[in-house]
Amino acid sequence: MNEKNRAMAHLTDVELLAVADGELSPADAARAQQHLMACWSCRSRQREMEVAISNFVRSRNALKDGLRKSSRRVQWMAAVVGLSVALIVGFLAFQIWTDRPNSRAAALAVPNPTLTPGAAVFSSRGELCRESNVRNKSVPQNLEKKVFEEYGIAHASARAYEVDYLITPALGGADDIHNLWPQPYSNTVWNAKVKDSLEDHLRQMVCDGSLELATAQKEIAGNWIEAYKKYFGTDQPLK
């Protein structure tokens, strides 16, 4: 095709779009512009393409307006902060994990009976069993702090423990420093989850009348691991 014929040939859709989008090389763009000036047919096709673009953009904007405008900056900042904090905490937890000998942690699987003898509030079974949603009650923050002080756990290593009720509120346990002790996260066998299952079991027994509430409280406050072994008839926590 010689130069003249090339200039006369109609532009393809691809070329029409590319020239409008400024994506052709300068030489090709010049040739296309020259053709467009001469050719009504190609100009009208290019216009149709522009109409298709505006229709598409308009329908998209209509969709966009339907989107809920959610907060942005705050949300994102929260995520960044969360990430940084997670890294810091993870790092600290790792340090604590590697620093602390397991013997100390194991010693705390059962609380110090002088510091944490256990304390209860409810006296009657009926009252207790009517109470629903007693599980996962959170420990008041000021009490948590006191418990750590009492057990001589430094602020930095406090993250390795969860302050737990000895007698669970589900069995009438009190929000009392005598009923709280720091349970180490590093306890993998006799951990909080195992204790939870004992608590559920005892509460059920108390509420269906097969166990005295006072006995249940005494058992769990005495040595909850022994109580678990006794009431589940096993030496190891059940899976």
Partner: protein, 181 residues
């Protein structure tokens, strides 16, 4: 009950007060690009909450990318590429999940609620045409409308320049025909 959660809250508060220049920069990029990226991610047919999550993860990745001192060239392109990949990953997970949510199994559940916002018939016809486009053509179109040049699109989608150019022309042809009907 957990001491951890409280420590987190406390630390979180402490951190939020001091904003590093890098954080400020990413926040600025966030203000510029967040809506555009969200719009793009929404075209993958994911649930709105998942789209928000993808957008957030993308910006976190951008933050880490800059924190590690990696290339600052064409950050919008970089961000969209990450968003694109995360959205695809999320969508693949939909397909693995149970059959209890059949509406989520399809990449693009047809016009559906979109119709609520399409003000007239032409628009809803146009939307169905767009949604019926082959995945690649749809991606090209959605990236182009977000202002990316052919070169960026080609790079993001692993296509040749010519293929991008052809894809766009083909899609616009379909859209034009949908409007005529």
């Amino acid at each position: 009950m957990s001491v951890d959660a409280k420590a987190l809250v406390g630390l979180g508060r402490g951190r939020a007060e001091e904003v590093s220049p890098l954080e400020a920069e990413v926040v600025e990029l966030f203000d510029q690009l967040r809506d555009r990226l969200l719009r793009y991610v929404l075209t993958f047919g994911l649930a709105a909450a998942d789209c928000e999550e993808v957008v957030q993860e993308s910006f976190l990745a951008l933050f880490r990318h800059l924190q590690l001192g990696r290339s600052r060239e064409n950050l919008p392109g970089w961000l969209f590429r990450v968003g694109h990949n995360l959205a695809l990953k999320k969508r693949r997970r939909y397909k693995w999940q149970s059959t209890e949510k059949p509406d989520l199994l399809m990449a693009d559940p047809g016009p559906g609620p979109d119709r609520l916002f399409a003000t007239n018939q032409t628009q809803s016809r146009l939307l169905s045409v767009v949604q019926a486009l082959p995945e690649r053509d749809r991606r090209c179109l959605e990236l182009r409308v977000e202002g990316f040049r052919y070169r960026d699109i080609a790079e993001m989608l692993g296509m040749s320049l010519g293929a991008v150019s052809m894809s766009l022309a083909r899609s616009l042809g379909r859209i034009a025909r949908a409007a005529e009907r």
